[in-house]
């Protein structure tokens, strides 16, 4: 009878025209093969942020799981990044 805890990428969702990547990380506690509990933690990845000169600084995804990185790199095309940059500039008001 062994109790283990592990984290899994529970969901990767690409939403919106700026291809935000929603990531749900599941923390699962198991006793042998039986799941005792599952907790969710979420974060959202967007293509980048603006620096003081209104240049887009790409979001650092090096710490993300490989599957998350693959999705981000797949959907964040140059066109998406440019559109996102223009939205951030517009949001600055």
């Amino acid at each position: 009878m062994a109790i283990t805890k592990e984290t899994q990428i529970g969901k990767i969702e690409v939403v919106g025209k700026y291809k935000s990547v929603q990531v749900r990380t599941d923390t699962v506690v198991m006793e042998d093969s039986e799941e005792l509990s599952r907790k969710y933690h979420r974060h959202v990845l967007e293509p980048g942020t603006l620096d003081s000169d209104e240049n887009l600084v790409a979001t650092d995804i090096s710490g993300e799981a490989a599957e998350v990185q693959a999705v981000c790199n797949g959907v964040w095309t140059d066109a998406v990044k440019l559109a996102w940059k223009n939205k951030l500039i517009a949001d600055k008001g």
């Binding site: 939403v15 025209k17 935000s20 969710y40 933690h41 979420r42 959202v44 942020t49 939205k87």
Partner: protein
């Protein structure tokens, strides 16, 4: 002594004295042959004409189980409808006496099977045909799960509430609870950010997300003149609807006694996972608007916003 006719024999007749076919049934008086005059095993099946033994010739209780050879009674010897429930004892027909697939629907009368006729657990899914359970077979009242939850076999399936047909606007097919980590966006109001607390919990019901946030800055966080932005909402806000606001639950004196007359409005733009701080006149609420040191700047935010799914 003289005789009229044939002189009687002095010796007893034997079968060799009787010609074949000479004794017919017409020559035997009723009741003349009794069981005591028939030798044991003298009557064999060869001596009984077909159809000669009828039910009228068998006394009540004359045929007992010991008098019937094993397998002597088969289906061809039982007349249609000859066996009723009064002909077998309770419990005499068990599953060992019923061939596989012998009981078909045609042999079960309407309404004959009630819940008392099957044991708990005996009907599993393998015994229920596809589509055999329809809504017509469910009661008209409420449905109760005695000790369990309703679990769908496929994700993103739900319940149409308040309607009697599948209407997309009535479908509730998503619910989720969890945590997230809110943060101040580096460079937007603050630099060199450290935290004393970062806590976020969410509940998503359909397309509505409810969040509760606490962020407390640590020591030595510097301020700048850019708008303060809280990042890290758990879902991206809707593209289809305008952005919306969140609410303050608590802010400490560093915000209350800021350079702004009022505490800032909290705005979640469309297509965003960030909370932007604005003064009530619409201009940016920046880090420089915070009163004094940023150490232990403590904010609690709650509210709802909308997603596209």
């Amino acid at each position: 002594m003289s005789y009229i006719g044939k002189q009687p024999r002095k010796a007893a007749l034997t079968s060799s004295d009787i010609e074949d076919g000479i004794i017919t049934a017409a020559k035997i008086e009723d009741g003349a042959v009794v069981a005591a005059e028939i030798a044991s095993n003298a009557v064999t099946t060869a001596k009984i004409n077909a159809d000669a033994v009828t039910a009228a010739k068998i006394a009540d209780n004359a045929v007992v189980t010991a008098g019937i050879n094993a397998d002597a009674v088969d289906g061809t010897k039982i007349a249609d409808n000859a066996i009723n429930s009064e002909h077998y004892t309770d419990g005499s027909i068990d599953t060992a006496h019923i061939a596989a697939d012998q009981i078909t629907n045609a042999k079960i009368a309407d309404d004959q099977i009630d819940s008392e006729h099957y044991v708990d657990g005996s009907i599993d899914t393998a015994h229920i045909a596809d589509d055999a359970i329809t809504s017509a077979k469910l009661g008209t009242g409420d449905m109760t799960f005695p000790n369990g939850n309703l679990v769908f076999g496929t994700s993103a399936k739900g319940v149409y509430l308040g309607v009697t047909s599948a209407t997309a606007a009535n479908l509730l097919n998503d619910y989720e609870e969890g945590t997230f980590t809110p943060s101040f966006s580096n460079g937007n109001g603050f630099d060199s950010i450290s935290y004393a607390a970062q806590r976020g919990v969410y509940t998503k019901i359909g397309r509505i997300v409810n969040v509760r946030i606490q962020i407390e800055l640590g020591a030595n966080v510097s301020k700048n003149g850019n708008r303060i932005i809280v990042d890290g909402l758990p879902f991206t806000s809707s593209n289809a609807v305008p952005g919306g606001g969140l609410n303050w639950s608590y802010v400490n004196a560093k915000v209350i006694n800021s350079t702004s007359t009022n505490i800032p409005n909290l705005w979640v733009a469309s297509n965003s996972s960030a909370v932007n701080w604005y003064k009530t006149n619409g201009s940016n609420f920046t880090g420089n608007d915070i009163s004094g040191s940023t150490t232990n700047l403590d904010v609690y935010i709650n509210g709802t916003y909308q997603t596209d799914a």
